[in-house]
Symmetry: C2
Subunit: 164 residues, 2 copies
DNA sequence: CAAAACTGCTTGCATAATACAATCAGTTTT
DNA sequence: AAAACTGATTGTATTATGCAAGCAGTTTTG
């Protein structure tokens, strides 16, 4: 993973940044799970990322401009990670990847309900979600609609359905 | 890259198959460059994939069901690789990734003109392109519209523009 | 018809990425 | 004061990638 610039193709350049097994997982958890701190990302991840890999990816994503890192005022040791516009702009990519995965791979209902909503919601929903992420991560005014809330409610309903 | 199934999340499962630096490059070249043979993929790739990596990726993509491999009737040693429906269904993912890369990364005009067309064309164009790929790779009847031709023409015009 | 070029790979070796467990110094909570 | 929590780092082992060379069989070329 060096910044070799193998070619100026948009697909290639995207893969040079995101083409590994963990970068998009970290961004997914920040975006859809609202995880902003190291330990949250480390321990609440379904997939179990290793701490050295997480540290490396966070550093790299900051360097590439997809996220920022700042001190958390509430705790002298806490670092707060936030999505940038570049990170938020991945919403449609996540939507399409989720749709593809849902169609062809052995997903679990619980973990794919958000992907289903996002696929059905289409570009309007993606834009509303991006607006909300700009509010949460970039200090923009909070919009009326909470796509995050819709996704989270659907997820929690699916969990409750399974449990009960 | 083992089939560990870290989780049933559609994003994660997609990354377990496509989350590396080469799989999507190979698929891109098959899809947009119409490369169907090993040497074509090896030597005509902008990025310069190594032969052992290419061999591994082709094997893996066949195993995962994104492409198929068959004997080329015209040459006893040639293997012909074709996209499956699962591979063709990545068209929207490529479109969204290309759009993101074009917006945030230092793409070259020549190599991003196809991404621009695909982004502007939207879901209708993606569907037409998928139809055409089904004809080329899966023996379906050839549709009237050739998105491949449109993309190729735009690319060649961009190359000519730079050269002359 | 022999030489050259082409076919899809494989092999060997060096470097880089990933996984896993343990650890750490400072901070906050109990 | 002890325990738990903070964002990491370190060490070691395994796996992936990159690079160059080679290989047996096939087709093209002179």
């Amino acid at each position: 993973m060096k910044d070799s610039n193998r070619s100026g193709c948009p697909i290639n350049l995207t893969l040079e940044i995101l083409g590994d097994r963990w970068s998009l997982i970290v961004l997914r958890d920040m975006m859809f799970g609202n995880r902003r701190h190291f330990r949250e990302l480390l321990t609440k991840s379904e997939e179990g990322i290793a701490s050295n890999i997480l540290a490396d990816r966070l550093k790299r994503l900051v360097a590439e401009g997809l996220i920022t890192k700042e001190d958390d005022p509430s705790h002298k040791q806490k670092a707060l990670y936030s999505l940038t516009e570049m990170g938020i702009a991945l919403v449609p990519v996540f939507a399409m990847m989720g749709a593809w995965g849902r169609r062809f791979l052995p997903v679990t209902e619980e973990l794919s309900i958000r992907a289903e909503l996002l696929e059905d919601g289409g570009p309007d929903m993606w834009a509303a979600f991006a607006d909300e992420l700009r509010a949460i991560h970039m200090g923009a005014p909070m919009p009326a609609r909470s796509v995050f809330g819709e996704l989270q409610a659907a997820y929690e309903a699916a969990v409750a359905r399974r449990a009960g």
